[in-house]
């Protein structure tokens, strides 16, 4: 018997062109990760300027440089469809590495913002 699991991992971007890496250890009861998405308090900045790398249990799900744009969608998309599916990845050692890179862009003016990696999965009941 498994239960739904969800966790948000925040990174603060304080300077233009900054790369921020954060490693989070999940609770031992979490067994698999099934979906993920990226959210922000300044969605326009994350959309135009962001790229990231995601590693679960030392397994690179997407490499450095994958655009945040490819993951974000508007709230008009139904909640069930907003997250990206990655199948059913076992968490193993429970470590999630999230590396977010801000890149200067001609359409936006930098201001400090927060980016959130939201993961969903299953945990033991």
């Amino acid at each position: 018997m498994t239960k739904f699991f969800s966790q948000d991992i925040d990174v603060q971007i304080t300077a233009a062109g900054q790369t921020v890496k954060r490693t989070v250890e999940l609770d031992k009861s979490v067994k698999t990760i099934t979906h993920y998405t990226i959210l922000s308090n300044r969605e326009d900045l994350a959309y135009y300027r962001g790229s990231f790398r995601l590693v679960i249990n030392k397994d690179e799900i997407v490499p450095e440089g994958y655009s945040t744009k490819k993951i974000m969608c508007w709230p008009t998309v139904s909640a069930d469809d907003r997250l990206k599916s990655i199948g059913n990845r076992s968490t193993g050692n429970g470590l999630i590495d999230f590396e977010y890179t801000d890149t200067n862009d001609g359409l936006t003016v930098f201001a400090p913002y927060t980016v959130t990696l939201s993961v969903e999965g299953e945990r033991e009941a």
């Binding site: 698999t32 969605e43 326009d44 959309y47 135009y48 300027r49 397994d59 690179e60 799900i61 997407v62 490499p63 450095e64 440089g65 994958y66 655009s67 744009k69 490819k70 974000m72 969608c73 508007w74 008009t76 998309v77 469809d81 907003r82 990206k84 599916s85 990655i86 199948g87 059913n88 990845r89 076992s90 890149t103 200067n104 862009d105 001609g106 359409l107 936006t108 003016v109």
Partner: protein
């Protein structure tokens, strides 16, 4: 199912009408190319004129507009295993505000591409014998506005490798993806 891995290639465009040839190297354990995604990041500062007399806003805005996602140029990808080009696309800059629903009651044309649905990589099925893909990109927005516009195009090549998937399956690997997409569009 075998594991899909992502290869990322960035190409910078700086001059109007520029034609760039580039190669994308594939890892040795690649068995086939299964999907392609693209993206554009504007490097030029300031406002850029786009078709229809609109401008690309620096900030998200919420008013009725005729501005559509501007076309920047044409991308073609060619593999040595196929005599012809296996992937071709007019590259759009998808504006952040493209997701705002049409509130003009159909008076203005809505953006054909928007954030109103989750993006899925475009499926291709190309066997792999050599280790490179040849790419050609032709800038058209610079020619249209008679100005050098700097931007970076990103090509995301999803390849299938010899590794076992270990539970990782991306949405485009799901055989029902196309059916789901068409269902979403109808809705």
């Amino acid at each position: 199912m075998k594991r899909a891995r992502l290869i990322i290639k960035e190409v910078q465009i700086t001059r109007q009408g520029e034609i760039k040839n580039f190669q994308i190297k594939l890892p040795k354990d690649t068995t086939r190319i299964i999907a392609i995604e693209t993206d554009v990041r504007m490097d030029s500062d300031g406002i850029v004129l786009i078709g229809g007399g609109g401008v690309i806003s620096k900030t998200p805005y919420l008013f009725w507009t005729q501005a559509t996602n501007p076309v920047l140029g044409k991308l073609k990808l060619r593999s040595m295993e196929r005599t012809n080009i296996f992937y071709e696309e007019w590259l759009h800059l998808i504006l952040f505000n493209a997701g705002i629903p049409d509130m003009s009651g159909g008076l203005f044309v809505t953006n054909p591409t928007s954030l109103n649905k989750n993006k899925v990589a475009k499926k291709v099925d190309v066997p792999k014998e050599t280790t490179v893909i040849n790419g050609i990109y032709n800038d058209t927005i610079g020619v249209a506005v008679k100005k050098d516009i700097g931007y970076t195009i990103k090509v995301f090549v999803w390849v299938e490798t010899e590794e076992e998937s270990e539970g990782v399956t991306f949405d485009f690997q799901n055989e029902n993806t196309e059916n789901n997409e068409s269902k979403t569009e109808k809705n």
